[in-house]
């Protein structure tokens, strides 16, 4: 058998590397940049609130500083008990960050599992799994959550776990349709003829290399969805309870003072929610278009 030895540097790979700016349109770059900004401030807020540094105590009540408008000292102003709204917003990330990740990981892991099994071994498992998933899908999400709140304590972790479970059918039907198409493709047969094992074909070629984009997009959309659900539940008073700060219950508390001219109490948390969700959606959208661009180039 011949052996080939090359000591040369790999230069031409770099020469033909297409920079991001050429691969993606301005719109994609802007939306991904915005999305990354959102993700980075979420991560920073979460670390700050976990380590309890750099910010004023979000629980500290100071009656003498009620309803202060935004200033240098209180970046987003203070609320009706004199608590700093900025530090409450920072602290509010704790309410959905870990539960949201829990929900995403439940939905993607089980969605992936069911999707692969029912897509690749469609003959044996497809009908059974999708019968089961359709049952889950047919229960309205908000009623499911209300039921859980009634039966158990309104713990945000439990609620988010059930949100994750209720979005399994969506993810797995995406993955199933992807696997269904891909497993018939010639390149899977070609890989088989090169001696690849079934597991490496499934996990490497079908899931990782080809369905990665679907998974990432589902994960970002799932995170924004969990934020929406958490905030809306807290707004309704079922989710995170006062005095633990959450973006939803801050809006709910502030709405009483809106028509007294103290609009920052509810508007600022609402704006933060809006910007965050928009950023996550745009991130998913931009990533989607970049992945498709790369393949069809």
């Amino acid at each position: 058998m011949k052996r080939y030895y090359y000591e040369r540097e790999i230069t031409n790979i770099e020469k033909f590397y297409v920079p991001l700016s050429k691969r993606a349109s301005v719109r994609d770059v802007v939306s991904i940049g915005f999305g990354l900004f959102v993700v980075s401030y979420l991560v920073v807020f979460f670390t700050i609130s976990v380590t309890n540094s750099f910010i004023k105590d979000p629980m500290e009540i100071n009656i003498s500083q009620m309803f202060l408008p935004p200033s240098m000292e209180h970046l987003f102003g203070t609320d009706y008990l004199g608590r700093d709204i900025f530090s409450r917003i920072v602290k509010g990330t704790e309410a959905f960050f870990i539960p949201g990740i829990l929900s995403i990981s439940i939905s993607t892991t089980f969605g992936l599992l069911f999707g692969i099994v029912s897509g690749y071994y469609a003959k044996y498992f497809s009908k059974g799994i999708f019968y089961f998933l359709n049952i889950i899908d047919s229960i309205p999400r908000i009623i499911l959550i209300l039921l859980i709140v009634v039966i158990f304590n309104p713990s945000i972790y439990l609620i988010m776990a059930f949100v994750g479970i209720s979005s399994i059918p969506k993810v797995s039907s995406y993955i199933k349709s992807k696997v269904d198409v891909l497993k018939r493709q010639r390149f899977i047969e070609a890989g088989k003829s090169l001696g690849l094992s079934e597991s490496s074909l499934i996990f490497k070629h079908i899931v990782w290399l080809s369905s990665k984009s679907v998974l990432i997009i589902q994960a970002t959309l799932g995170l924004s969805e969990t934020i929406l659900i958490e905030t809306s539940l807290s707004y309704l008073g079922i989710g995170v309870q006062e005095p633990t700060p959450s973006w939803g219950n801050m809006v709910a508390m502030g709405k009483d003072f809106f028509f007294q001219g103290k609009i920052w109490l509810s508007t600022i948390p609402a704006l933060v929610i809006m910007v965050t969700i928009m950023g996550l959606y745009l991130l998913g959208d931009g990533l989607n278009s970049i992945y498709n661009e790369k393949v069809s180039r």
């Binding site: 080939y4 390149f187 070609a190 001696g195």
Partner: protein, 382 residues
């Protein structure tokens, strides 16, 4: 002999109509190192199924019904292969002949069938699952395959260079990444791609079909296989590219001393490259011989089907003379019935009078008209 396929039988089960469909019946072929075997026949005559069953890629149950496939691996890997065969298939009989190993061994433990009426008592699905472990050692490493549609044989989601390098890393684990990259470039140069760096950086959708075919050939050659099966590598290519790909395959075969099985439905293309030709019709081999015997001689004995195949493709002289091409009348016989007559009977111009009666009685056995030249036709029975 590098590989020897004996009495291959492949039947598929038609779920809807509850009957068996004959795909390939009693196909035998042998191939030596450094030779090119051309397999020719119209579509649906079992060329691709033969190739796929040699790779163990026949999926639908029951699939392979009978036969033996002897293959000679390198001495280094023979022990491992023997071990896997003994462990995986738990059979001690009929797995070895000198240095050749039977990759279809243990098949008769998992399958039982009656010839007439054709019924299967045990099916081969379990065997197909078990034999996968044996075939994983063989596939890619010793036998590589090029498929019909080159553009679809490449994963559209990763770049060509990455696919090639991953495959190289799979078979040459000891190489570092510079060596792998160099080897990949070397391979792309050896399939006559002029700018390997550009090709490696691009995605499969950016390649033309000829380029994609060359890349597929390069991927198939990564592991230095001994046997390359090219399953209609020229479909979808334009005429100049067909010529180039055939030249390329011929040159690569000379350079690497490959054994090549070249499958096509065009007998001119096959006769341009092959040293031996196998003509298949309705799942059986109707003629087997060297290229000269099968295609060139005008007066020598040939099967009527081969004769008609040759006359249905224009040669240079025919085009100059403005000769009308002859088509083969009729269509393939029903492969759901048992073969109780010569399958070519209805389309055969020679089957007249007393010969026709003979043709209708049973399917003819192959006759050796000259050394190593077999024809299945009653005309040459002496």
């Amino acid at each position: 002999m590098l590989a020897e396929l004996n009495e291959l039988k492949v039947y598929f089960y038609d779920q809807r109509n509850k009957r068996f469909i004959r795909s390939v019946e009693n196909v035998s072929l042998g191939i030596r190192e450094g030779t090119i075997l051309g397999v020719v026949g119209e579509s649906g005559c079992g060329k691709t199924v033969t190739a796929l069953s040699m790779m163990g890629l026949v999926e639908s149950e029951p699939g392979i019904i009978g036969g033996t496939f002897f293959f000679r691996p390198d001495d280094d890997d023979a022990d491992e292969l023997e071990d896997t065969i003994l462990r995986g298939l738990c059979t001690k009989k009929n797995y070895r002949r000198e240095r050749m190993y039977n990759l279809f061994c243990g098949l008769d433990d998992y399958i039982e069938f009656e010839q007439s009426p054709f019924t299967i008592i045990k099916d081969s699905e379990k065997w197909l699952r078990r034999t996968n472990r044996v075939m994983e050692l063989i596939r890619g490493k010793y036998i590589s395959m090029i498929f019909q549609s080159p553009a679809q044989s490449l994963n559209p989601y990763i770049s060509v260079g990455q696919q090639l390098q991953r495959t190289i890393q799979r078979f040459h684990g000891e190489m570092n990444k510079y060596e792998v990259h160099g080897y990949a470039e070397e391979l792309l140069r050896s399939v006559r791609l002029r700018r390997p760096d550009v090709v490696m950086a691009s995605f499969p959708s950016a390649l033309s079909i000829g380029m994609a075919q060359r890349v597929v050939i390069a991927v198939a050659l990564c592991s230095d296989p001994c046997l390359l099966i090219a399953d209609e590598p020229t479909t979808g290519l334009d005429t100049t590219n067909i010529h180039r790909i055939i030249k390329l395959l011929e040159e690569l075969q000379m350079e690497r001393n490959l054994a090549l099985i070249f499958i096509s439905h065009n007998i001119r293309i096959v006769s341009a490259i092959a040293t031996d030709i196998l003509v298949m019709y309705a799942g059986i081999v109707v003629e087997r011989g060297t290229r000269a015997e099968v295609t060139k001689t005008r007066r020598g004995p040939r099967h009527p089907y081969t004769e008609m195949l040759v006359s249905s493709v224009p040669g240079d002289a025919d085009i100059k003379r403005g000769k009308r091409l002859r088509e083969i009348p009729g269509s393939m016989p029903n492969n759901k019935k048992e073969m109780d007559a010569c399958p070519f009977l209805e389309r055969c111009p020679y089957a007249k009078g007393s010969l026709r009666r003979k043709c209708r009685s049973a399917c003819p056995e192959p006759v050796e008209v000259s050394p190593m030249h077999f024809i299945r036709c009653y005309r040459f029975y002496s």
